[in-house]
């Protein structure tokens, strides 16, 4: 019954009316003669360019998604009239189809069809029309692109169309974009009230583009005092929201940096904070973890490519174990001979770090090794208010907190944690109670080192895996532990996040380097007031 609509003659239309009235479809109730879609299509076949442009505009104004393939075909010179009855056809590689219904047309021979020619005027009309029509496409991505398109083009004549699309839109993200487009287009309207409505809507948004539009409007509206006032109000409210958005963004970046510091510092909080061993090779433990991640990735690429997406999950225990094993050997072999001599421990571990770095450099080369992120960690999440969050950074925050919680749980709730606390609090008594203090020391150090290894897994996602990966983090992590208060995991958490956020807050004003210098100086000054950190333990036992 639909094909009847395309019939050009009155008689056929009458017949169509008859058939349509018989059919149960509600859409057919309109009747062919009143069907503006059919009428618009007729104009496309009309012959001169003026008529074609009118037809295009009419189709665009209808906002009917069915017009999209037809207009595209027109643009591709694939729209044609059947010589025999002037019926519109789309010439596809596999044969002609009916433009209105999509059904196959006979004959298949192209010679039976006369292509509809277009000129530049038609092309311009086509581009605009398609932009507007895609607003109704069933595909989300297409609609979003169209919404952005009409937002940029800002043609007043689009207004009714955008209004319709806005009313129909269900996807919140596209709807928000459409709202912006609507506002931006309203600014172009000759009607003052409509313009003001547009200004208000823009003022309620939070994008830098909207701000630019408002500024532009204000410059153009010099005569209209009322509009200027409205724009100023809108700008103020927009700026406030932009500031909040940028603050939120900075905050997130700070959290992200903080969680990296946290990961690097938790291990230190154990080895330095709990055991009092100052391990300058801590950065190398992190580096070992990162290389373990790299090796796991390479192994999976070689033997089990299907597991590529979980390679990082396999790397976590691998990194923990390899760095932990190294820590165990280090403690048993060297560090335990230096207990009670912290400065010597510092120097010894620094030298050891040098050796490990050089060994890795010789084994893997000095160049950066690439560890790719699994697909589920890629991409960004857009939050309302124009805040974009990269997924891998988000995962690192989650991972950092998870590692911290796991560490706390191990210390609080396991036998090993109990032994560890006993030994660090009172070694002789722990020994008399049958706790193997030497082994607990080794396990504690291995535990702290293993956590550093897990930090390496996280760092491999955001930094270059190279032999001196850890060097860049070691001073910062020590600052975190000192700032937060030695021997205190809560202090480490707060210290890491504060340092991360302060770093990021300072960056826009001072640049990354000066920001870092400020933070270092601030910590040195902070230690003045609270020599034992943010969460200092007090009491007569502290100094011994």
């Amino acid at each position: 019954m639909i094909k009847l609509r395309t019939l050009p003659t009155i008689a056929l239309l009458a017949l169509a009316m008859l058939i349509c009235s018989l059919a149960p479809r509600p859409a057919t109730a309109q009747g062919a003669a009143a069907d503006p879609f059919a009428a618009a299509l007729e104009r496309l076949a009309g012959g001169d360019f003026g008529q074609i442009v009118e037809g295009i505009n009419a189709l665009a104004a209808l906002g009917d998604a069915r017009a999209v393939p037809i207009l595209r075909a027109l643009g591709d010179n694939a729209l044609a009239k059947r010589q025999s009855d002037q019926r519109l056809a789309i010439l596809r590689d596999d044969g002609p189809i009916d433009a209105a219904t999509g059904t196959r047309l006979e004959p298949a021979d192209r010679a039976a069809y006369a292509p509809i020619g277009i000129n530049n005027r038609v092309r311009v009309a086509l581009r605009g029309a398609l932009g507007r029509l895609v607003l109704f496409s069933p595909d989300d991505a297409e609609r979003l692109a169209a919404a952005q398109g009409v937002y940029r083009s800002r043609a007043a004549e689009n207004l009714p169309l955008i209004e319709r699309a806005y009313a129909a839109e269900r996807n919140p993200r596209i709807k928000a974009q459409l709202e912006l487009a609507l506002a931006a287009t309203r600014l172009m309207s000759p009607d003052a009230a409509t313009r003001r409505a547009g200004v208000d809507t823009l003022g309620a948004s939070s994008s830098a583009e909207a701000r630019a539009l408002l500024v532009e409007t204000r410059a153009a509206a010099n005569s209209d005092a009322e509009l200027v006032a409205a724009v100023d109000r809108a700008l103020a409210s927009l700026d406030f929201r932009l500031q909040i958005a940028s603050a939120a963004q900075t905050f997130f970046q700070g959290l992200s940096l903080g969680s990296v510091l946290l990961l690097a510092a938790i291990g230190l909080a154990i080895t330095f904070g709990v055991m009092g061993v100052i391990n300058m090779a801590h950065g190398e433990m992190v580096m070992i973890g990162a290389y373990a991640t790299y090796l796991v990735q390479e192994a999976i690429r070689a033997w089990a490519p299907g597991l590529a997406d979980v390679s990082i999950l396999i790397a976590i225990p691998a990194a923990f174990l390899s760095a932990g094993a190294f820590g165990f050997v280090l403690e048993r072999g060297l560090i335990r001979h230096l207990y009670g001599r912290p400065l010597e421990t510092l120097l010894m571990t620094f030298g050891l770090g040098m050796i490990v770095q050089q060994a890795v450099r010789l084994a893997f080369g000095a160049q950066n090794r690439e560890v790719s992120s699994p697909t589920w960690m890629q991409g960004t999440i857009a939050l309302p208010g124009g805040i974009a969050i990269t997924q891998n950074r988000l995962w690192i925050i989650v991972f950092g907190l998870a590692v911290l919680l796991a560490t706390v749980a191990v210390i609080r709730f396991t036998r090993f944690g109990l032994n560890m606390r006993a030994v660090t609090q009172n070694r002789p008594i722990a020994a008399t109670m049958g706790i193997p203090t030497g082994r607990v020391d080794a396990m504690t150090f291995a535990f702290g080192s293993g956590i550093a290894g897990m930090a390496g897994v996280a760092l491999s996602q955001i930094d270059n895996v190279s032999p001196n990966l850890g060097t860049g983090y070691i001073i910062d992590s020590f600052m975190v532990v000192v700032f937060g208060g030695v021997g205190n995991l809560a202090g480490t958490l707060v210290g890491a996040f504060i340092l991360g956020i302060v770093n990021k807050v300072l960056e826009p004003y001072a640049g990354a380097v000066l920001g870092k210098i400020f933070v270092l100086v601030a910590i040195i000054l902070f230690i003045q007031r609270r020599p034992r950190g943010l969460f200092a333990l007090r009491g007569r036992f502290v100094e011994s």
Binding site: L537, R538, G539, R540
Partner: protein, 252 residues
């Protein structure tokens, strides 16, 4: 007309209402103690009674949350360790702390009362009087034979004495002595009690001690601390028979 107070009436050390808390734990709780000039006072008390914290407060290592701490007219809560030491308060630690890498004489030399500013110390040379003073103290603490030995090579008892000797070199008006006979033989303990009795009189001495034999040997006024406050005070026999003291020491 009021009678002017006798000079002896001004105490050397005056603690009143001193409270110190560490993370909610009250190490000292409204502690009040008065020490007269020339007095030899012994302080006893179970572990955690606040003896060492009291020493820390007097020497400026720990600042009290509230309370008065006076040495003669000086408010000690406002001064740091160095100032307090220079006012004339000497302290011997529980664990003997001497300078292991310096000889006995050098240890005493550093303790010698005198100028403490770096640039003057840089050019300081011992004069005859000072040498005599060092010799005197060496004899007093019985270390003349070991004068040139590094302090690190001394026996435990000798280290205790060396530290007491260093206190004497400081020529303080008040000596605070924390467990002087811990780890000493009976003979050494006896000698130490003798030494302390000799020192007291010219100076005030406050001794913290666990060893009841030693406390009895000192035979002076005893203060019992418990949970950061004074539980009992008086002559040793009186205190030993105080039922509260017995309860604290024997458990309840």
């Amino acid at each position: 007309m009021t009678t002017p107070a006798a000079p002896a009436a001004e105490p050397v050390l005056y603690l009143d209402g001193v409270t110190v808390t560490f993370d909610g734990f009250r190490a000292l709780n409204e502690l009040s103690i008065v020490v007269e000039p020339g007095e030899l006072r012994t302080i006893i008390g179970p572990n955690g009674a606040g003896k060492t914290t009291m020493m820390d407060v007097i020497t400026g290592k720990t600042k009290p949350d509230r309370g008065t701490v006076r040495f003669k007219q000086h408010d000690l809560t406002r001064l740091d360790e160095v100032r307090i030491a220079n006012l004339g308060i000497g302290r011997k630690f529980q664990k003997p702390t001497v300078f292991d890498h310096l000889t006995v004489v050098e240890n005493l030399e550093l303790a010698l009362k005198g100028e403490r500013r770096p640039l003057i110390v840089l050019f300081a040379r011992l004069d005859a009087d000072e040498r005599a003073r060092i010799d005197e103290v060496l004899t007093l603490v019985g270390l003349t034979a070991r004068a040139r030995a590094p302090a690190g090579l001394l026996s435990h008892g000798q280290r205790q004495w060396l530290e007491i000797g260093m206190l004497l070199m400081q020529d303080p008006e008040l000596l605070l002595i924390d467990e002087p006979v811990a780890g000493m033989t009976d003979h050494e303990t006896h000698e130490t009690a003798e030494l302390l009795r000799r020192i007291a009189g010219e100076r005030s001495v406050v001794v913290v001690e666990h060893d009841m034999e030693f406390v009895r040997a000192l035979a002076r006024r005893v203060t019992v601390l418990h949970e950061g406050r004074v539980l009992a005070e008086g002559p040793i026999d009186h205190v030993q028979n105080d039922p509260r003291v017995i309860e604290v020491y024997l458990g309840r």
